[in-house]
Amino acid sequence: MSRVRLIARLDVKDENLVKGIQYEGLRKLGDPHAFAVRYYRQGVDELLYLDTVASLYERNNLGDILRQATADVFIPITAGGGLRSVEDVAAILRAGADKAAINTAALRRPELIEEIARAFGSQCMVLSVQAKRRNPADPAAGWEAYYDNGREHSGRDVLEWVKEGVARGAGEILLTSVDKEGFRKGMDQELIAAVSAAVPVPVIAAGGASSAEDLFQAVKGGAQAVAVGSILHYDNTDIPTLKNQLAQKGVEVRVCGQS
């Protein structure tokens, strides 16, 4: 069986690594490449680059950052933000990405999922879903899919949307809780469990992780991978510490004794 993947999430705006809270108010943290190399050397399993404002301006700026990454980082890279067409995906793959994360453009035109899966394979087509609770006081109300960095709501039910996305060819779900994103106060575990049960493809749980315990709960809920950003960027913890803590809880992670 595959190990649970620990993914470092790098939100990028222009040339800077940024961190947002609930997709609002961005803080600049520095050169994304330096962070990427640091996490690679620490033994992270995968990198996720998201151009945070790309979909607003309808363009993606990640090409140079991805090309730079390929010289020093030899692990899988997913890139997203503002990708709208098969040509956009081809461009980021040429620049060094392995997978494309698509949210806004897929909600606007779901056929794009099929087009990307047909051109590059399902393994390349990561459906990024920004889920927000319809009513925080009523768990039974479920979640709605958002886009444009959690600003706009689509009217689509998250569980219906992920099922449709997989039927159309999505090979993974990148699941972000808009409610929890950026707060470092825990993940939406009910959401993770509900989506993991709804689809047969791997689910990457993202948004709000504060500790190895949060990640452990996400894995228990069915996630095959967990994405963390803030707690790494702010040196609350590091990759070896998180992996050790997960291993102690019985989660199988890749052990890395490299540089």
Binding site: F74, A97, Q123, E172, P200, V255
Partner: protein, 220 residues
């Protein structure tokens, strides 16, 4: 002089990552898009992402199928990665039945959707899994020579090769409690289902071993 490794470009796959990884392993990596550059190559990498049918159609459309077979027959080291490994086989069953390059006997078939206990298995298989020797000789004299059994590498695939000859089978990995073919080797032709260029230090060690083959190929 650095050994030259030719990466076959047929419009599919993350070629830049393969190139950068080979460069960091001491090779001079060049892209070949036409039959002529393949016929001159001293070592070949066949990368690939996408479906078997689409990949073979592109190789054929670009006239690359025959030159690859010729170089393989001449003893040039050839490394197939992911779809590139699958296309080394006789037949693929992704998007219909498609003839492959036929360099290694066997077929390419969908991964089972249930584990050995009958529980649903997530397909595609995405992630890091350990390599276990498939035969009694372990990884000796192969591109996996420096790999310790159990070391993990990165897989992304929904289909897997089923070699007809057990002796071609170099390494397996476990998925859903079953052995899945992870690497094959027949003479100078090697295939890896995982992505060495995306498998951190373990993967770079595998590419370094391939670059050593490229330095001292046993030509026929």
């Amino acid at each position: 002089m650095r050994p030259v490794v030719t990466i076959i470009d047929y419009g599919r796959g993350n070629l830049l990552s393969v190139r950068r990884a080979l460069e960091s392993c001491g090779a001079e990596a060049v892209f070949a898009a036409g039959p002529d550059s393949i016929r001159k190559a001293a070592a070949l990498v066949l990368p690939g992402v996408g479906s078997f049918a689409d990949g073979m159609a592109r190789l054929r459309a670009d006239g690359l199928e025959q030159p690859i077979r010729e170089r393989a027959a001449a003893g040039v080291p050839l490394l197939g990665i992911c779809l590139g490994m699958q296309m080394l086989f006789d037949t693929g069953y992704e998007d219909g039945e498609t003839p492959g390059l036929g360099l290694i006997p066997g077929t390419v078939e969908p991964l089972p959707r249930q584990d050995v206990d009958g529980k649903p298995l997530r397909v595609p298989h995405v992630g890091w899994s350990g390599l276990v020797p498939a035969g009694p000789n372990g990884f000796a004299n192969s591109v996996l020579a420096d790999v310790q059994p159990g070391e993990e590498v990165y897989f992304v695939h929904g289909f897997a090769a089923v070699p007809a000859c057990e002796t071609d089978r170099l390494a397996d990995t476990l998925y859903g409690g079953r052995r899945v073919c992870a690497a094959v080797c027949r003479g100078n032709v090697t295939g890896v289902q995982f992505h060495p260029e995306k498998s951190a230090e373990t993967g770079l060690g595998i590419l370094r071993a391939f670059v050593r083959q490229a330095e001292a190929p046993v030509l026929k």
